[in-house]
Point group: C2
Chain length 308, copies 2
């Protein structure tokens, strides 16, 4: 859609496309196809603004990404005031210029980034600052990263469900369980991969009763389980409609919500480790008491500099 009226002004955006950003160094990375522009700014020299986040995340006029992540020591920004000054802080900006508390897939990419750029040893865990509080990042033997995702709570649902979801592609409303993992989710179980693929998530599913602040909605199909190193391990496939973003290729908190809901439905003997197939790849969720841990890959794709 044409959103603006182009003018005849030719005083050349061409010559300095991203204007004041010329010379800025960046890295492009993704975690299960949730992708980011990363800036390493240990001393807080870069004045990140909403406009800068929008320009860099623009997929055609900029570099492109779901978000902008700056690695900065906590002492160098106001949002880091609750942390020791030398704590690494994940300064997360959405593509629309707003900030977010946390992003599970982004935190894995952040882990790979500070490991490489700052030579941090993540094998025994590194606690970072985020706007959502401290999080622990751990490098795993298989090259993946684990992110502590904080505490969770299920809805009051003695029968396993406390809501109903209506969505295009399903003939009638389906029961859902509400899950809070720092942000709100509703999880719906489907009987088959065919039913999962038949969903049309181009419009937001409708949740009843209506959540006061909206909700992310996950649809999940169980795919059996196995023993890995003697530990029972479940496997599911999911699709997700993210509040404000539409259908996405991967949602870290959504994967955690799905694991928690499926374990709740399966009862006490169910696994606490779940492999979760998302459209963008595979992540693993470990339920550890009142916390979840999200494991998965992180890829640093390219390093570059904005043209002058």
């Amino acid at each position: 859609m044409p959103e603006t009226t182009p003018s005849n002004d030719t005083t050349s955006a061409a010559a300095r496309p991203l204007g004041t950003l010329a010379g800025l160094r960046f890295t492009k990375g993704h975690g299960t196809r949730n992708d980011f522009v990363l800036i390493f700014d240990e001393h807080g020299d870069v004045d990140v603004t909403a406009e800068m986040a929008r320009e860099l995340c623009d997929r055609r006029g900029g570099i492109g990404g779901d978000g902008l992540i700056r690695a900065v020591r906590a002492g160098n920004l106001d949002a880091g005031a609750d942390f020791a000054p030398d704590t690494w802080f994940m300064d997360y900006w959405n593509a629309d210029g707003s900030t977010s508390e946390m992003c599970g897939n982004g935190a894995r990419v952040f882990a790979a980034y500070v490991e490489r750029e700052a030579d941090e040893d993540l094998r025994s865990g590194l606690t970072i600052g985020t706007r959502g509080g401290p999080r622990t990042l751990t490098g795993l033997d298989n090259g993946h990263y684990a992110v502590g995702m904080g505490t969770w709570a299920l809805g009051e649902a003695p029968e396993g469900f406390d809501a109903e979801v209506t969505v295009q592609g399903l003939a009638h409303p389906h029961p859902a369980l509400s899950v809070d993992v720092g942000n709100p989710h509703h999880v719906v179980a489907l009987p088959s991969l065919e039913a999962l693929e038949a969903l049309d998530l181009s419009n937001a599913p409708v949740v009843e009763p209506v959540p006061p602040h909206g909700s992310n909605v996950e649809f999940v199909v169980t795919r059996g389980g196995s023993l890995v190193d003697g530990v029972p391990r479940g496997r599911v496939r999911m699709r997700v409609h993210e509040r404000g973003s539409g259908e996405t290729q991967s949602c870290g908190t959504g994967a955690c919500a799905v694991a928690l809901a499926v374990r709740e439905w399966a009862g006490e003997a169910a696994p606490t480790v779940w492999d979760v197939e998302v459209p963008g790849g595979l992540v693993t969720v470990r339920i550890v008491g009142d916390q979840t841990v999200l494991e998965g890959p992180a890829a640093l794709i390219a390093d570059g500099v904005i043209s002058g």
Copy 2:
């Protein structure tokens, strides 16, 4: 949509995300938001493959772009056999791994790229090779670039129309004129910007009679005209549905087709220079006898290297 079944294989795509491309240097650029990954490969050292084009143009797992453009001397690839060996050749690959003859917006970005990388002087015109034949690129005083787009032909249409187009958002079929500018187009005139904005181009418009190889379809609204340096100059706004790509932000041949159709409808006294507002910006089309020339901006956004 989940298209593949992720496996449990964790032998780390994370460590070498774009595998064999590690170390490859690239530039990201765009022309009126038609965007490209560019590779400077004067001596033909890079073995470009369909898979490489797909990986680099992947907007989440790669760099992201509508296409991959390699700048190479014609003597270093088979497709350049018709040109003197030291002619610069625009080796154009679509994001899906296929090749294309030409791309008007891409040619402007190519012009900016060889000007910067090879220090070519474009002020008096540089003739390059493409799979569609030779094209002349010229650097303009305002920092924009002009691209010779080759010859054109209108459909046999004594009354100005030789087809009908049906599209979502218009109540009934509208008359259209077929225009060939190396590829097939149909142009439909609309009465107002409101009508243009009300179109739903998420599905392909239907053209009758059915074009044998499909067609790109443009919708255009006239916006008056002016005298610029004593030369009459028309102005239009358009939207386009590109065959095989859906609605796009800019289409160079589409802008040429629109200028040709609007001039045909306006009669002999109509301007031969047209400013064409596309969703991604503004381009200018000059009709010069049996040829068209496309002028517009080109931006080189960033330079980078694929991670190892």
